[in-house]
Assembly symmetry: C2
Homo-oligomer: 206 residues x 2
């Protein structure tokens, strides 16, 4: 019996290359979850295997900037020359329906959510070693050395922003990281500030 | 990989009759836990089946008051004419060793821990319905009607103190309640305020 009926806005973030996408997929593969993935919109090029509307909504720069002016993003960031953003419309509906909405986003966007949505749950995913992240960035093989260097510098700046998050989860093993995140979601629902309202109704009812 | 190495002081509390003891036993029966039960000291009479040093340390009123004067309790309370208290000595050792220490205590004692130990995790266990608790108090069969009435009045006062706790967990099914508590423990270890220290060491090391 869950006292808090509203879904949680869960922000899964961390430096580029830490494995946010893999951990997110492991979360959605878990049994008995009611997670909804908030598909981001981007102006970057589709990578091999990516599907429009599933991995991202791929749009032109023009289209993105139009929506930005109309206030249609919960957060957005520009990164290595491309825009990334979370479309607002579906998020609120999913939360109201009691689903947890998972945003898998860059650090810059996560901190925008921190300021806008007071009760969002911010999770900072980190590698077990800094070097492990550098290696992953290099081995991706889809980017030039220049882009890789830019990502490494960015990661180094982002490592220092962990203190702005609610939780720090080590991505030592994908399954462990996913388990920890599910535990965080369960625990957050039981938090007094989220559950006291329905608790009071419950004990008044008898 | 757990960033916070120190154990948590977990206070499992709630009105008398809510099933704290049963849930605590279910927690200790779970696999892969490293929980330590802090055995309380009491001046109340042993109930059938209870074992000294396991369920409680049973001592005389005189002995209890002597220890109280010596500051040897983390918390204590007097309830229906008997003292209950948590001996300090073992708790700190267990926390340092990385074990979670579970206190299963009355509301009055829990609020003393709230004031003394800032980073304790306070869990308020509640029945799915108020009436369910009254029934459980009546069906115990070891107490007089007078004591039962006293417990019911006390429960009614305690129901209003939920807001002082970190988490509210409904004891609808013992296994569910225990699962929720284990999730809370895992999540608390990942909390930024507990894990940032070791996280910073981790990223500096490379």
């Amino acid at each position: 019996m869950k006292l808090n009926e509203r879904g949680l806005l869960v922000v899964l973030s961390g430096p580029s290359g830490v494995g946010k996408g893999t951990v997110r997929k492991a979360l959605f593969d878990m049994p008995d979850q009611n997670l909804k993935y908030s598909v981001s919109m981007t102006t970057r090029k589709k990578r091999p295997g990516e599907v429009d509307g599933k991995d991202y909504y791929f749009v032109s720069r023009e289209e993105f900037e139009k929506r930005l002016e109309e206030g249609k993003f919960l957060e957005h960031a520009e990164f290595v020359g491309n825009y990334y953003g979370t479309p607002l419309d579906k998020v609120e509906d999913d939360l109201q329906a009691g689903n947890e909405v998972i945003l898998e986003i860059e650090v810059e966007g996560a901190l925008q959510v921190r300021n806008k949505v007071k009760d969002a749950v911010l999770i900072f995913l980190v590698p077990p070693k800094r070097e492990a992240l550098y290696q992953r960035l290099r081995s991706r093989g889809t980017e030039s050395e220049e882009v890789i260097q830019e990502r490494i510098k960015k990661a180094d700046r982002e490592f220092k922003l962990a203190y702005k998050y609610d939780y720090i989860v080590v991505n030592d093993e994908v399954a462990n990281a996913a388990d920890r995140i599910m535990a965080i979601i369960r625990a957050e629902h039981a938090k007094t500030e989220r559950s006291i309202h329905n608790y009071l109704k419950l004990i008044e009812e008898d």
